[in-house]
């Protein structure tokens, strides 16, 4: 089956069929003063060779720094087979399948993706992926407000320990829909959301509580207590998780007495390279009872008339092309290519491989923190357990230290003062499984040099 868009001849035939002279004529009804006309700022076209040359000059400006920044996007090893396979023509589309059932291979991959995500999160069902972690949380918040019929308040509790970019994206997505986001403070000593602070909301009408694990500071939250508080107060529990961490932490489906209701997060650590912020992908899983409120596409497995296994898009009555303005979401697509890469990535690593990656990340971060805190004035900001990130206090300007490190080809962490000015000079560091003892030692030496100058 050809997946190539209309040829010139197709276009000509369609224009003849509808009696239009050319494509331009189809836009006649838009008044001339509203049309932007030809783009004027575009530079002249370049040949492939010229573009490749320009891009290699630009890439060289970045150098080959060693990355100790996490904060939502992580520098993991991606086996070569992942993109070798994901780039095959049969898979190579960013989109959800349109003539869906004609693309059995694509549907099967997405079905496998869903199965793996459901297993990893301990939830009943998964969708076929969303745009990214932040928008998946926005969708989860909207879903919770629809699904929690016991709550009329449209109030959501959002910890300040949640990724600041996620909080901003969710605000943008829900503010015009009468949904109120209530910030929860984090404990200054632990860097976590102390479940005791929720007592202030006991008995109030809350639609959902958002629970990040690990949180933005890398700190592990008391997910069981938080989930149980939500359910005791008739609120839904929304988990925001790092999928790699789930290889060693208890899955959201098992949090507290009943488990989280919705689980979402950023899928980038599963096979998507760091690349100027994307493309990444979001994931979302939920309890079976909420599946009809879940946004996005869901692939199901069934049998055809001859009893042969087939894959199909299912529960489509939730979706825009059928339900129109009352659809669960305006999402009617998924991040097909990224989800495909993640499926191959997870299949290659297996549960044991994922666990080893997670354990190595944890061990490396412990080792890094141990090395860096031997330097005078460098100390952990929070005293609670972390996964693979740690906030460290510096004796001098974090911004200045990080720029000096970057000149020495070390991306030494993220300056937290931009989003949390009250914390002072604090950086967030991360060491994934890729970081070697030599690299970490080198980071320590360079930081020591800067701080003693």
């Amino acid at each position: 089956m050809p997946f190539i868009p209309h040829t010139e001849e197709d276009v000509r035939e369609m224009l003849v069929a509808i009696g239009a002279p050319d494509i331009e004529a189809l836009f006649d009804e838009i008044p001339a003063n509203l049309r932007c006309g030809k783009l004027k700022q575009l530079p002249q076209a370049m040949s492939e060779m010229e573009v490749a040359g320009l891009m290699s000059v630009r890439a060289n400006q970045d150098g080959q720094p060693v990355c100790f920044i996490g904060a939502g996007a992580y520098d993991h090893h991606i086996p070569a087979a992942v993109w070798q396979l994901a780039s095959r023509g049969e898979f190579y589309t960013a989109y959800t399948p349109y003539q869906a059932e004609a693309s059995q291979g694509t549907l099967q991959v997405l079905y496998e993706f869903q199965s793996m995500m459901a297993a990893l999160t301990g939830m009943d069902v998964s969708n076929a992926s969303l745009y990214d972690g932040a928008t998946s949380l926005g969708e989860a918040v909207l879903m919770a407000v629809r699904a929690n019929r016991k709550s009329k308040s449209r109030r959501i509790l959002m910890p300040r320990s949640l990724h600041p970019a996620y909080r901003r994206v969710v605000q943008t997505m829900v503010e015009s829909q009468g949904i109120e986001l209530v910030e929860l403070p984090f404990d200054p000593a632990g860097g976590h959301t102390d479940p005791a602070t929720l007592a202030a909301f006991d008995g109030q009408d809350i639609a959902a509580l958002v629970i990040p694990q690990p949180n933005y500071f890398g700190v592990l939250e008391e997910v069981d207590a938080l989930t149980d508080w939500a359910h005791a107060n008739k609120a839904l529990a929304i988990a925001v998780v790092n999928p790699i961490a789930l290889a060693v932490l208890s899955p959201p489906g098992e949090w507290g007495e009943q488990g989280a209701d919705i689980c979402c997060g950023e899928g980038q650590p599963l096979g998507a390279p760091l690349s100027s912020g994307g493309p990444y992908f979001g994931f979302m899983c939920c309890a079976q009872k909420l599946v009809r409120q879940m946004p996005g596409r869901i692939v199901g497995r069934t049998c055809d008339l001859d009893g042969k296994v087939g894959y199909t898009l299912t529960l489509q009555a939730r979706e825009q092309h059928i339900r129109r303005s009352k659809a669960t979401s305006n999402i009617c697509t998924n991040q097909g290519l990224m989800a495909t890469a993640a499926t191959i990535h997870m299949a290659l690593l297996g549960s044991e491989g994922l666990e080893r990656v997670a354990a190595a990340c944890y061990a490396n971060t412990q080792s890094l923190v141990q090395k860096l805190t031997t330097i005078g004035g460098v100390e952990p900001l929070f005293n609670r357990p972390v996964f693979h990130e740690q906030a460290l206090r510096l004796p001098i300007s974090a911004d200045g230290v990080l720029s000096q490190l970057s000149v020495m080809d070390v991306l030494g962490g993220l300056d937290l003062s931009r989003d949390y000015p009250e914390l002072g000079d604090v950086i967030l560091v991360c060491a994934t499984e890729k970081r070697t003892e030599t690299e970490m030692h080198d980071f320590q030496q360079k930081l020591q040099m800067i701080l003693t100058c």
Binding site: R149, R292, A317, R318, I322, R323, K326
Partner: protein, 128 residues
């Protein structure tokens, strides 16, 4: 045309309403409606105690090919919902005027029943 019992009242939006029993009426969808929708796979019912104005959206029936809103035929408060539909939505297909009922409403104003169609009126509306 499908089965349209004479003893019931109807809306042009394909809901039926039973006669009043102690201020309460039972509501469902017609045989014609279930036939047009095809096999139902899910029914979303209102909450007990929820109040609706006449013609307000109050439930959703979902078939393999569409999801359709159900409008409350009369103003009032929901007193009971058909819990059996949670696990067996096909009851609406099998027995739309019996076991496939959707919910019961305590009427705010019995006079509103006069605004509804009788069997002949619904026949005419559904054929149109």
């Amino acid at each position: 045309m499908s089965d349209v019992p004479n003893e019931l009242k109807y809306c042009s939006t394909h809901e039926w309403v039973s006669s009043v029993d102690d201020g309460v009426v039972t509501v469902g969808i017609t045989d014609h409606a279930q036939d047009q929708l095809g096999d139902l796979v899910f029914v979303e019912l209102p909450e007990i105690g929820q109040a609706f104005e006449a013609k307000a959206e109050c439930a959703v029936v979902e078939s393999v090919k569409a999801a359709s809103d159900i409008y409350c035929p009369v103003s009032g408060e929901v007193t009971e919902v058909n819990e059996a539909l949670m696990d067996s939505p096909e009851l609406v297909n099998d027995d739309p005027y019996g076991d496939g009922w959707l919910f019961k409403v305590r009427l705010t104003d019995e006079a509103e029943l006069d605004n509804l169609l009788d069997a002949d009126g619904y026949h005419a509306a559904a054929d149109a």
